[in-house]
């Protein structure tokens, strides 16, 4: 039973709904601005970008389906009867599962005994069985559900494709949340330090120097030990550890922009500083943010794998590509090697990171009026 409201499906559904509404509102606001409308038309003309966007939407949809869920009445495994509380007569609910779990149930229910290769009809490793003549022999036993596992099954016979799908949410949340946490920090401190200079610059540079002199692994390990393992904690720790690089980049670019004539012209006009930063500096560093974000997104997903390997990543109960790659590490040393778990994690990661890169490039070009 969920201990608190914050761990309940209610809260998570509300949070997902809230985030989706926020994104929709932002898109609606932007669609009323000509600058963004032009950029949108520009992206629509780039076929590669549209394909990338559709793929990203697919990933996004899976992540959203995996984020909403509900609890169902507990049923008797054989009779199918709804379980009720013996005294109050209230329906007893199960732990609940996400919409994706329910969708994948037909596949994930097809459990095998152990490893099987993608779309195989028999077991991967031969087992000893009695032949009809009574002689023991090594045979590849037929699977319970032959030719139904796209990416094969793992050591305990679970479908690898289902695991990879379940990992999408983890990957996207790590990538997005880390970025969402890091970019505002970097943007605010980077532009302020670059634009105002003086003690603001000194203080920011000092904080950056201190943060980047702490070894990332140690920092995250300490963070996870103090706050417990989990997806939000990891994203927060990685966000704090990684905003300094972007901050320095933005500071340098802001210093360059601060001296350009169009910023001087705005100053001479009496435009307040915060408005110069919002109107002239931020749009002109946006391409840098976009490029670093997209590059970072892929490295965050990989970093998650590394941290999981070190035992300081997301908890063991959360499926992730990092955890899959870790499993694959031992599987790859077997003879014959078990390659499909790695292949599945790799395919799903490339399938996310490559369209993200292509789409990021297209957005950057579309936002630059000089290239139109």
């Amino acid at each position: 039973m969920p201990a608190t409201f914050f761990q309940s499906w209610w809260f998570q559904n509300l949070l997902t709904l809230g985030l989706l509404t926020g994104a929709a509102l932002l898109a609606w606001r932007l669609s009323r601005r000509e600058y963004w409308r032009n950029a949108f038309h520009e992206i629509c003309r780039n076929r590669l970008a549209v394909i990338s966007f559709i793929i990203l939407c697919g990933y996004g949809a899976i992540a959203i389906l995996d984020s909403v869920g509900w609890r169902r009445p507990l049923r008797h495994p054989e009779t199918g009867e709804v379980a009720r509380h013996p005294e109050t007569g209230k329906v007893i609910l199960d732990q609940g599962a996400s919409a994706l779990d329910y969708l994948l149930a037909p596949i994930s229910a097809k459990r095998e005994k152990t490893y099987s290769a993608p779309l195989a009809a028999t077991d991967y490793t031969p087992t000893t069985a009695m032949s009809s003549t009574g002689q023991p022999q090594r045979v590849h036993a037929p699977l319970t559900y032959p030719r139904s596992h796209l990416f094969g099954t793992d050591r305990i016979g679970q479908d690898v494709f289902c695991q990879a799908c379940k990992s999408i949410r983890t990957g996207i949340i790590i990538g997005l949340l880390t970025t969402i946490l890091a970019v505002p920090f970097a943007l605010v401190f980077g532009t302020a330090a670059g634009y105002y200079g003086g003690w603001i610059d000194d203080a920011t540079q000092y904080v950056c120097a201190v943060l980047s002199s702490i070894p990332t692994v140690l920092f995250i390990a300490a963070f996870m030990i103090i706050f417990g393992q989990g997806l939000p904690q990891l994203a927060l720790a990685m966000g704090i550890a990684s905003w300094t690089g972007l901050c320095r980049l933005l500071r340098g670019e802001t210093i360059r922009l601060r001296e350009t004539d169009f910023v001087l012209a705005a100053k001479a006009m009496g435009v307040p500083s915060w408005r110069i930063i919002l109107r002239h500096i931020v749009p002109n560093v946006l391409h840098l943010i976009l490029i670093t974000t997209v590059i970072r997104f892929s490295s965050e997903v990989l970093a998650e794998a590394a941290f999981t390997y070190l035992g300081i990543g997301v908890g063991a109960d959360t499926m992730s590509w990092g955890a899959m790659i870790n499993d694959a590490r031992t599987e790859l040393t077997r003879e014959p090697i078990i390659w499909w778990k790695l292949a599945a994690a790799f395919t799903f990661m490339v399938g996310l990171v490559l369209p993200a890169n292509l789409f990021g490039d297209a957005v950057r070009d579309a936002l630059d009026p000089r290239l139109r």
């Binding site: 000509e34 600058y35 350009t260 004539d261 169009f262 001087l264 012209a265 705005a266 100053k267 001479a268 006009m269 009496g270 435009v271 109107r279 002239h280 749009p283 002109n284 936002l367 630059d368 009026p369 000089r370 139109r372």
Partner: protein, 668 residues
């Protein structure tokens, strides 16, 4: 033209160069033919995009990878440079033909000493023992007039001034003892007094070694004073070739004639400049017939249909035009421009004792160890409807004055009083904001002065949103439409982005942005120096028209004395943060009193015949304002300096109610 090619050192004929752009070829140079005799100086003149630099680069085999020579020959000492394999053309380039570039700052490697870099060139050409090579390096540095050549050989490029660096570049070019020196805008990045030194050096080398020089420049006045022959390029083709005197006295092509008239000088005062409409076409613009026809006031249907052929006018004067001798339409004179009958109201801007000192800080605690006295106590007054020119070389502090007036540089001391009432210095930024609109600024570089990510409309609206917050969006729109029409741009410009406009159009946009807040004073910081001559004339005309219409006062910051004499009523000459001479333009131009003003006027090339003017050449460069010379700042370069100049700051002397100068020994 090339009847006896054996006499020529270099004879280029029918040169055609094209750029490959996404499969399609764009012709950058079309049928260029010219020839240089040994020891001759040929000037290749043209505005930006005329193809003059590409022509020179093709001779040395230095074309960018996407450019190809499609046709033509370049015979140099009996060999066709364009047909040679790369290895042989490299042997000729650098040794027989050397090149010096425009930007002496980037042409030298900053982490190697200049002696090492010259030695490297020597190594390419001669097998010399090490000591001998060292000696040659020092010789070369001495030859190009660098004092203390032994010391300077071990200096790094950043330790030398721009002029010195250009001398080092010339020394490197001379290392191979070339027969032909290609100088691509060799003085464009330099101040006029340094430009005069470098041109003198090139002429001396030409006399001494008989080196022919191909001078590539956009500066017609410089050509007039330096070259033997001139080839005028326009949009990829040579439109006129002639002896220097011939070209300037009897220009034949309408482009040459209009270009000469569009150069501002004292003769055009009170007139409009003969600006050529439009701007130089880009190479990818397809223009049938004569490429100048769309801008030519004489163009006939024949010009638009049929490309003209080369016509020989005799005496080595040739022109590529259908209508070479037809008279040009007269320029309308600006009758209302006489300023004498204008009653001067109260001054709009009074500056007294203005000082801008930048502290130099050092150490962990940022202690101030001294000041860069960029502006060191200057006074001037500006009345509505007049133009004051602030003239001086780079580093004299003229731009800092402009920036201090609009609050972009910290004012140390002094008063900036607007409309005779409010002193702007020491006002809190928020209290200053309402007065910001009084003084506006137009910047030098049209490409960095507009935010690339805002539409023109958003850029112009920015100031109005601050200073006229009461306007409805409809009122604002209609006012912006007015402004954009006033500066001569189409109404749909408001929805477009800066990169869609040419340099001249961008300066118009910058002007519209300033005018949006109804300023009384507009500071023009070198606002035409990045533009082509024909476009500069359009902007100067526009500035005059707007001044007349709106009663604006201009503080025109420039180093171009031609523009000053055309536009300004009064001149203030600055040297190292101080105004050394101040007076009516006519007074100062006719009888300069300060030796610096005199030298500046003498160094600036003009279109008039150069013989009558006294040659007063200044040695050295503008000293650093970190540690200015004691006494009179100018004394180390002054030919008239006496003992008193080294110790005592000079007093101010008046010669008329308007004309004054600070010098111990004003020139009579």
């Amino acid at each position: 033209m090339s009847s006896q090619p054996e006499q020529h050192l270099l004879a280029v004929s029918g040169l055609r160069i094209a750029f490959r752009q996404g499969g399609a070829g764009v012709t950058a140079v079309q049928d260029a033919s010219f020839a240089i005799k040994p020891g001759e100086m040929l000037a290749l003149v043209g505005e930006s995009g005329s193809g003059k630099s590409i022509t020179a680069l093709s001779l040395l085999g230095l074309l960018p990878p996407n450019a190809v020579v499609e046709a033509g020959q370049a015979h140099f000492q009996g060999r066709d440079l364009l047909a040679l394999p790369a290895s042989e053309s490299r042997a000729i380039a650098g040794r027989r033909i050397a090149m010096i570039f425009q930007e002496p700052m980037t042409a030298l490697n900053p982490v190697l000493t200049v002696g090492w870099q010259i030695g490297e060139v020597l190594k390419q050409h001669h097998q010399l023992p090490r000591a001998e090579r060292q000696r040659r390096v020092v010789d070369l540095l001495a030859q190009v007039g660098i004092p203390d050549p032994e010391q300077r050989a071990s200096d790094y490029p950043h330790q030398l001034s721009g002029g010195m660096r250009q001398r080092v570049m010339i020394a490197m070019a001379l290392a191979g003892q070339p027969e032909l020196l290609i100088a691509d805008e060799p003085t464009t990045a330099l101040d006029v007094t340094v430009q005069a030194q470098i041109m003198d050096l090139l002429q001396a080398l030409r006399r001494q070694y008989g080196t022919a020089i191909l001078l590539i420049t956009h500066n017609l006045a410089l050509v007039n004073e330096q070259a033997d022959r001139v080839a005028v390029m326009y949009a990829g083709s040579i439109v006129e070739t002639a002896g220097c005197d011939d070209l300037f006295r009897r220009p034949a092509h309408p482009y040459t004639r209009l270009l000469l008239r569009s150069i501002p000088s004292v003769d055009q005062r009170g007139q409009r400049l003969a600006a050529i409409t439009g701007s130089v076409p880009k190479p990818e613009e397809a223009i049938p017939g004569c490429r100048f026809a769309p801008r030519c006031p004489l163009a006939t249907p024949q010009c638009q249909a049929e490309a003209p052929l080369f016509r020989d006018l005799g005496h080595g004067h040739g022109v590529v035009c259908h209508l070479a001798e037809a008279p040009l339409p007269e320029v309308q004179t600006d009758t209302a421009a006489s300023k004498d009958d204008v009653v001067l109201p109260s001054p709009v801007l009074q500056v007294t004792g203005l000082q801008v000192w930048f502290p130099r800080q050092s150490g962990l605690l940022r202690r101030t160890i001294g000041y860069v006295k960029a502006v060191d106590g200057i006074d001037f007054t500006l009345w509505p409807g007049e133009t004051l020119a602030l003239v001086g070389e780079s580093g004299c502090g003229k731009t800092t004055v402009g920036k201090a007036l609009v609050g972009l540089a910290p004012v140390n001391a002094g008063r900036i009083v607007v409309h005779g009432k409010t002193d702007l210095t020491g006002l809190h930024p928020r209290a200053l904001r309402p007065f910001r609109q009084t003084i506006q600024m137009i910047f030098q570089d049209p490409f960095s002065s507009l935010d690339p990510r805002l539409t023109i409309g958003e850029t112009i609206a920015e100031g109005m949103e601050i200073h006229q917050p009461g306007l409805t969006s409809h009122e604002r729109q209609s006012r912006m439409a007015d402004l954009i029409a006033k500066v001569g741009l189409p109404a749909d410009a408001l929805r477009r982005y800066p990169h869609q406009f040419s340099g001249g159009q961008r300066q118009r946009i910058g002007l519209a942005r300033s005018l949006a807040v109804n300023p009384a004073v507009v500071i023009c910081d070198e606002c035409t120096s990045a533009l082509d001559v024909s476009v500069q004339a359009q902007i100067l005309n526009l500035l005059k028209d707007l001044q007349h219409e709106l009663g604006l006062a201009y503080l025109f910051i420039t180093h171009d004395l031609g523009v000053v004499s055309f536009l300004a009523e009064r001149i203030a000459v600055m040297y190292l943060g101080r105004i050394v001479e101040h007076g009516q333009t006519a007074e100062v131009m006719a009888a300069p009193r300060h030796p610096y003003t005199k030298a500046l006027l003498a160094a600036a090339p003009t279109l008039d015949s150069a013989d009558g003017r006294p040659k007063l050449r200044l040695p050295g460069d503008v000293p650093s304002p970190i540690n200015p010379p004691a006494g009179c700042h100018f004394h180390p370069r002054c030919p008239y300096a006496q003992a008193v100049c080294r110790t005592m700051p000079p007093p101010s002397a008046s010669f008329s109610p308007t004309h004054s100068c600070t010098c111990h020994f004003p020139v009579a």
